[in-house]
């Protein structure tokens, strides 16, 4: 029987909502991971195990792993370190997880760096090539810290991968992490004077188009963008009907390379909530040339909602289910690709991460 799981990360633990294939009836479990702050959750494709990334203010960073659908968990941070010594900055927390086509698990951490695991997150090794990039001394934090928050592996080539770092930008490796190149041409950095630099862009989230590894869509601090050459150059889409250039999450359709969703927010100086306090998710069906506003079921007055970079996800059913969580603890779901929305639960802690999983 097909079931859908929504994996939710918050500063007070992970939660899981179990739903039916129709995505009408849901039940919630949690808090999981002993109430640890959880920034990201994924499912390991080869095993179905849930991995959760986080860090405790007391007990440090760790990746949690559950092999029974979230009932019991283990955790590890073995090897998740930049080394020993007085000058070494401790890793504060883990912000992102992804799996490559060869089963390698990747973790992005704060302060920004990348780690890999060949054993499902039990032990880790540092991807030193990124940390050793010549621009590393110039890297500066965004409002959320100096964080590696997005990992997009190539779907078939384990040597290729893109990562996003705030406020540094997108990098790509084509040799399995040994060397990296900035991929920020065409992306504005309105918060510094003069022409856009090679790095220093405030990428918020990016995703790959289904079946088109060279097509990437990006939500940046300074607009929405599309690349059709693997990130080498980017085209600004923010004049195409969205009400704000600013926003955090971006989610790509699992089968249609032309479709993705964003949630524009007012500028940071204006509060970072949905424009005019009227809630909406914006969808494009033509690669970002035009966007449609989806608001059926969402509050249209006095809705001072904000959605963080990892807090929107889609499932793989047809039609695709889309879910987003707010900083004020509401979890909204659409079972029809964003046409209409229902509130699943309204009293969670601040929602940092959402992932949707279909299990048969």
């Amino acid at each position: 029987m097909t079931v859908v799981q929504l994996l939710v990360g918050t500063p007070k633990g992970a939660f899981i909502l179990d739903g039916d294939a129709g995505r009408r009836d849901w039940s919630m479990r949690g808090p999981l991971c002993e109430g640890w702050p959880i920034h990201d959750l994924i499912v390991e494709p080869s095993s179905g195990a849930i991995l959760a990334a986080g860090g405790s203010p007391w007990y440090g960073p760790a990746v949690w792993r559950s092999e029974d659908g979230g009932a019991t968990w283990s955790h590890s941070s073995e090897g998740l370190t930049y080394g020993e010594g007085e000058g070494v900055t401790p890793i504060a927390t883990i912000w992102s997880l992804a799996t490559g086509p060869d089963g390698t698990v990747y973790a992005g951490v704060e302060p920004a760096g990348l780690f890999r695991s060949a054993d499902g997150g039990r032990t880790w090794s540092h991807v030193e090539g990124l940390t050793n990039h010549p621009t590393r001394p110039t890297w500066g934090p965004g409002a959320g810290g100096l964080i590696l928050h997005t990992i997009v592996p190539h779907p078939t080539d384990p040597q290729r991968m893109w990562v996003g770092i705030s406020a540094v930008g997108v990098f790509e490796t084509r040799d399995g992490g040994t060397t990296w190149e900035p991929r920020n041409k065409g992306v504005r950095a309105d918060f510094v004077p003069g022409p856009a630099p090679e790095t220093g862009q405030c990428v918020h989230k990016f995703a790959m188009a289904a079946g088109e590894p060279e097509t990437l869509y990006q939500q940046n601090h300074c607009g929405q963008y599309r690349s059709t050459d693997g990130g080498a150059t980017w085209t600004d889409l923010s004049k195409n009907g969205v009400p704000s250039q600013f926003g955090f999450p971006l989610v790509a359709h699992p089968r249609d390379p032309k479709t993705f969703w964003v949630i524009p927010l007012t500028q940071p100086e204006e509060g970072r909530f949905m424009p005019e306090a009227s809630a909406a998710v914006w969808r494009t069906r033509d690669r970002g040339e035009t966007f449609d506003r989806g608001d059926d079921g969402l509050p249209q007055e006095d809705a001072y909602l904000s959605v963080l970079r990892e807090a929107m996800a889609r499932d793989t059913l047809d039609p695709v289910g889309v879910t987003f969580g707010t900083k004020t603890g509401q979890l909204w779901h659409s079972a029809d690709e964003g046409d209409s929305w229902q509130l699943l639960t309204g009293n969670l802690p601040e929602i940092w991460a959402v992932e949707a999983v279909v299990r048969d």
Binding site: E34, S56, P57, W58, Y59, G60, A62, H75, S76, S77, E78, T81, Y82, G83, E84, G85, E86, V88, T89, P90, I91
Partner: protein
């Protein structure tokens, strides 16, 4: 052997591990390594890069605030206590 008392929130991360331990060790550092042998990964939860105690982990030896270098006697009692933090 020194007596070590661990906090409940740490025990929750290591199912089956007891709160009270009798371990060998001449320093807090050695005591925590001895604990790690019984509960692999426990040292990582208490010690960060440096190495030093994590900022919100307090250790007391015979009631006195301690760090990794503090001496531990065979008759000592070592308390590991999470600091006041969180929100």
């Amino acid at each position: 052997m020194a007596t070590v008392l661990l906090p409940r929130s740490l025990l929750a991360l290591f199912p089956g591990v007891e709160r009270r331990h009798e371990v060998e060790g001449a320093t807090v550092d050695q005591v925590l390594s001895a604990l790690d042998a019984r509960a692999p990964g426990m040292r990582d939860r208490l010690v960060e890069e440096g190495p030093r105690l994590r900022p919100h982990i307090n250790v007391f030896v015979d009631g006195q605030p301690a760090d990794l270098t503090t001496q531990v006697e065979p008759a000592s009692t070592v308390h590991v206590i999470p600091a006041v933090s969180g929100g």
